[in-house]
Symmetry: C2
């Protein structure tokens, strides 16, 4: 056993999958799950995803070695603070939020000296959500970013790293600012664009059966456009500055391509498109 | 046997797959393939994709019941006209171009009275191209649009319909103008956006390893961004007016979402994103 008790607050896709993966690893004495939804807790116990559970944070946090906050991004700082008074001395608090700057700053600012905090962001997930979609293999071979700041304690970082390695993830450290910049471009922007694209296609009413002709292209492409609106609204606003800059960068390239089409600049267009194909093919590796 | 000789001009992914599927059907006496690339012709003969082949159009077109032009969109009208003088009386000329307005108009304008023309567009394809990627199952269960205009002869349309049904496609008829409007939104716009997105992400140089963190989201989504730049440059310019209008519609929705993020309008954002999820889920059916 590597860890004694691990508490996961928020049994959604990520929280549920992490709990289950830790359970399967056999390296944790007890997995405690907390969720407001009693049905989610009951389901998780029945399926062996967690050992015990509750819909109240207080019941789960005591004597926990690690407390993982796996709720929507906007709730994480508040939940972290509510844990401060009840967590046992030496506990590590960590999270799985897709935006890190705000969370890490807010939590570190008020963190009591007897607790530790390391921000986390596993790069895994599907368009589905909830514990019913949980999969203990979700993190295998995936990356997990952990934040490192001037306040990060080496021992706490090592513990968080070990937690994610147990479930098969490859751990990278980043400062929260760099993290939010990178993910604004590689993840948040693609989601903004997917949502906008779907609504733009659907806005065209002529002919009224236009969506019937959407081929595999639009379908594949917009898989991420089926992701949770609540979660993503929260992410976009939590990473507002970077997301808006990424949208501006995208608008610039789109306008360049639009102008090439308008001017029938086939040479320029081929070059621009070839650049994208070259980059896209590198992503496959 | 339903057809005697069918000639396919252009042994790319679509032409090669159509030839092969017709061959497998056993409903065509002879499949003749034409491609400028001798290696493609040799490969297609070797693999049993075509019966005979040539790199000159003239050799293949004589005595053909149906001549399918499966080259890039921009070349189709010119090739159709070059076929006029050599095609046998009563032959049906058809094509597989993703844009129909320009092609149908230009070909119908100069079509001799002893020949027939019906525009076609199978809604199938992958990001790969060339005869080496051909697949005789490519059209099974897929849609194929055939154009219907005031000049379209019922008999010619029925013959084109039969050709695509033999290879497993479901045939729909549309006037060329509606076709180009529909596909500007459901296919051409998503491609423009995918190319622009990839180049926008890659334009961000801070940090320089930003692409390493692209998750499954960006990868899946940009599959179509790996499609042939030559083919797509050609399509965008051939359908310029509609594609530019689709880009404008998309820019409008993107700006609406950007403003909601700027104003932290979480309620509006959730509504806008939920709309997309609802539409996206309908595409799955």
């Amino acid at each position: 056993m590597i860890f004694k008790k691990v508490t996961i607050i928020g049994l959604g896709l990520i929280g549920g999958s992490l709990a289950w993966a830790l359970k399967k690893s056999g390296e944790v004495t007890e997995i405690f799950g907390v969720d407001l939804d009693e049905k989610a807790v009951d389901y998780a116990i029945q399926e062996g995803i967690i050992d015990r559970g509750s819909n109240e944070i207080e019941n789960g946090v005591k004597q926990s070695e690690i407390i993982v906050i796996a709720t929507h991004v906007g709730l994480i700082p508040r939940i972290a603070k509510s844990v401060f008074d009840i967590a046992s001395k030496g506990s590590l608090i960590t999270d799985v939020g897709s935006v890190k700057g705000k969370i890490v700053e807010e939590v570190e600012l008020s963190l009591p000296s007897h607790l530790y905090f390391v921000g986390g962001h596993p790069i895994a997930g599907t368009e589905r959500s909830s514990v019913w979609a949980a999969d203990y293999r979700l993190f295998q071979g995936k990356r997990c970013i952990l934040t490192q700041t001037q306040k990060t304690q080496a021992e706490a970082l090592a513990k968080a790293k070990s937690l994610w390695e147990i479930v098969g993830a490859e751990v990278f450290t980043m400062d929260p600012k760099t993290h939010d910049r990178v993910f604004a471009f590689v993840s948040h922007l693609p989601h903004v664009v997917a949502y906008a694209l779907i609504n733009a296609v659907a806005s065209e009413k002529e002919p009224d059966n236009i969506l019937e002709f959407a081929g595999g292209g639009l379908r594949d492409y917009t898989r991420i456009g089926a992701s949770s609106p609540d979660m993503w609204s929260d992410i976009f606003i939590s990473n507002k500055k970077n997301v808006m800059e990424a949208i501006e960068a995208f608008k610039g390239v789109l306008e360049k391509i639009r102008l090439m089409i308008e001017r029938e600049d086939i040479k320029g267009l081929k070059e621009e498109l070839s650049k994208a194909v070259g980059i896209r093919n590198r992503l496959d590796k």
